[in-house]
């Protein structure tokens, strides 16, 4: 091809790219312009009520989930097969299946069994709230356990050997050296898991709970303004996530400050 033609084509291509970008920006501006902001203000309070439930669900399941994850991770790194394999199976199952399936299994599946329905635990399984909490907790515990396992195994061998060399027992070494180090190492990955959990919590809306997403969908059922309401709900999710991420980064920096380059 003639170099002049190539040059011309390149310029045409670039011009087309600019035109396309301008068109997309204009489209977004137009979209934002024609939105019905009144409906966002009118229902913002109800969306916040939903956001509170979302935060509550995630906070409780992450807290209990961590309490389950710690012993599970210790079992998972144990050399005793009777401890290792049950933990392995649990993590394998909950990481290998979708959260939605786990929620449906606990809510709809167990609700079908007479054994559960006539059992003493029915008052718990009857409520969508508890079913979601159980599903979220077991799910996040499995992921957290795997993060912790990785972190424990990432503790430098030399530090463990040093601990043992000065006469610490295995348990003492875990308590004083391995776990504190592992928690610091796993902190960034664990923060990620909590953010993922917060977004995954939208699935609570599939079994009648009015979390942020459930509330948004119920409002849209009235107003038929999905763009406005989902936009508002999305913004609330972003604010929650960034507020959390900001706090988490501060904690990370504080507990890992010995790793930072000297000022």
């Amino acid at each position: 091809m003639n170099p002049a033609t190539v040059l011309l084509l390149a310029r045409l291509g670039r011009a087309a790219l600019y035109a396309l970008t301008a068109l997309i920006v204009l489209g977004i501006c137009y979209g934002l312009w024609i939105l019905d902001y009144g409906v966002i203000f009118q229902y913002f309070g109800r969306l916040l009520v939903g956001a509170v439930l979302t935060i509550e669900l995630v906070a409780i399941s992450v807290l209990i989930g961590f309490c389950i994850a710690l012993p599970t991770a210790l079992m998972r790194v144990s050399t005793n097969p009777w401890l290792r394999y049950p933990a392995y199976a649990y993590i394998f199952y909950f990481r290998g299946t979708p959260l939605l399936v786990q929620i449906f299994f606990i809510y709809h599946g167990l609700g079908q069994l007479d054994l559960i329905r006539d059992g003493i635990l029915w008052p718990i399984f009857k409520e969508a709230y508890w079913c979601v909490l159980i599903a979220f907790t077991l799910n996040t515990a499995a992921y957290s356990a795997e993060i912790l396992r990785g972190a424990i195994q990432a503790v430098p061998r030399g530090e463990i050997e040093a601990a043992r060399a000065i006469g610490m027992s295995k348990a003492l070494a875990y308590r004083r050296i391995i776990l504190p180090r592992a928690l610091r190492i796993g902190l960034p990955a664990y923060g990620n898991e909590i953010v993922l959990m917060l977004k995954g919590s939208a699935l609570a809306s599939t079994i009648t709970l009015l979390d942020l997403t459930g509330m948004a969908r119920t409002i849209i059922a009235r107003t038929y303004t999905p763009v406005e309401i989902f936009l508002a709900a999305g913004l609330i999710y972003i604010v929650i996530n960034y507020a959390f991420a900001y706090g988490w980064t501060r904690i990370e920096r504080r507990v890992n400050r010995y790793l930072a380059p000297p000022a």
Binding site: L9, H108, G111, Q112, R117, K126, E127, A128, T206, T208, R217, T218, I220, A221, R222, Y224, P226
Partner: protein, 246 residues
């Protein structure tokens, strides 16, 4: 070469909508027996589907069914995923602000169902858990009239509400009388019954279209009148209910 390709793309972009224009796309939910549901072979069946097909035949139009979850069904129409909604949609003022409706093609009312012998009293529901489908007349009736009095549970599909009634998570379900009738007659509905009288009898069901589509609306209205007249409607009706639901 490049120019030919561009011309081709332009031609496709321009002709796409034109090609689709004489094909009418009908939107429905596919989870609302006996009106619209998907049979085990994946085929769309039901009263709405039969009516829609009969109307298309009368109007001499080629039709194509599109399924869409209920709470996104009006946004889907507005986004032109389909041209009309034939999905047992009640004609309400709230919906009329978003879409136009044809004349009715059947009428409905609301009625509670609950476990046989449960003694559920629709006049005194305080503290009871009542289920309904989200974004329906029944769901809005509960929200408007019984918020704070009963524990309202809103489901994505009518079937999910029935599942929880069977499981005992809700004391009763409020829904369209005809749909409840169908469910009570199914195997799953054994052991459950209507409680109280049917109410909200002015509930009429129409076909929804995007606003300003007057020509199509008139055409469908005419077709509805025709199938009422020539007995097609009665034949379809008899397939599902032993009484006239128009």
């Amino acid at each position: 070469m490049k120019r030919t390709a561009l011309a081709l793309i332009a031609a496709i972009l321009v002709s796409g909508p034109a090609l689709a224009a004489d094909k009418l796309r009908l939107g429905t939910e596919g989870a609302y027996p006996p009106f619209n549901q998907i049979d085990p072979n994946g085929k769309l069946i039901g009263f709405d589907v039969d009516i829609g097909n009969a109307l298309c035949e009368k109007m001499n139009m080629e039709c194509e069914w599109v399924t869409q979850d209920w709470d996104g069904i009006i946004p889907g129409l507005l986004a032109k995923k389909y041209d009309v909604i034939i999905a047992s949609m009640s004609i309400t003022d709230e919906r009329k602000r978003a879409v136009d409706f044809t004349e009715r093609y059947y009428s409905n009312s609301l009625r509670y169902i609950s476990k046989k012998g449960s003694g559920l009293d629709p006049k005194n529901l305080k503290g009871k858990a009542i289920g309904a489908q989200r974004a329906t007349i029944a769901g809005q009736y509960l929200e408007d009239n019984l918020t704070g009095v009963v524990d309202i549970k809103l489901y994505d599909t009518q079937e999910a509400a029935y599942l929880d009634l069977e499981a005992g998570r809700v004391d009763g379900v409020l829904g369209d009388m005809l749909v409840n009738y169908e469910w009570l007659n199914s195997d799953a509905g054994e052991g459950f019954e209507f409680v109280g009288e049917a109410f909200n009898r002015s509930d009429v069901i129409g076909i929804a279209l995007r606003k300003g589509n007057e020509e199509l609306r008139e055409k469908i209205n005419k077709a509805i009148a025709e199938i009422r007249e020539d007995g097609t409607y009665a034949k379809i009706n008899a397939k599902y209910f032993p009484f006239d639901i128009y």
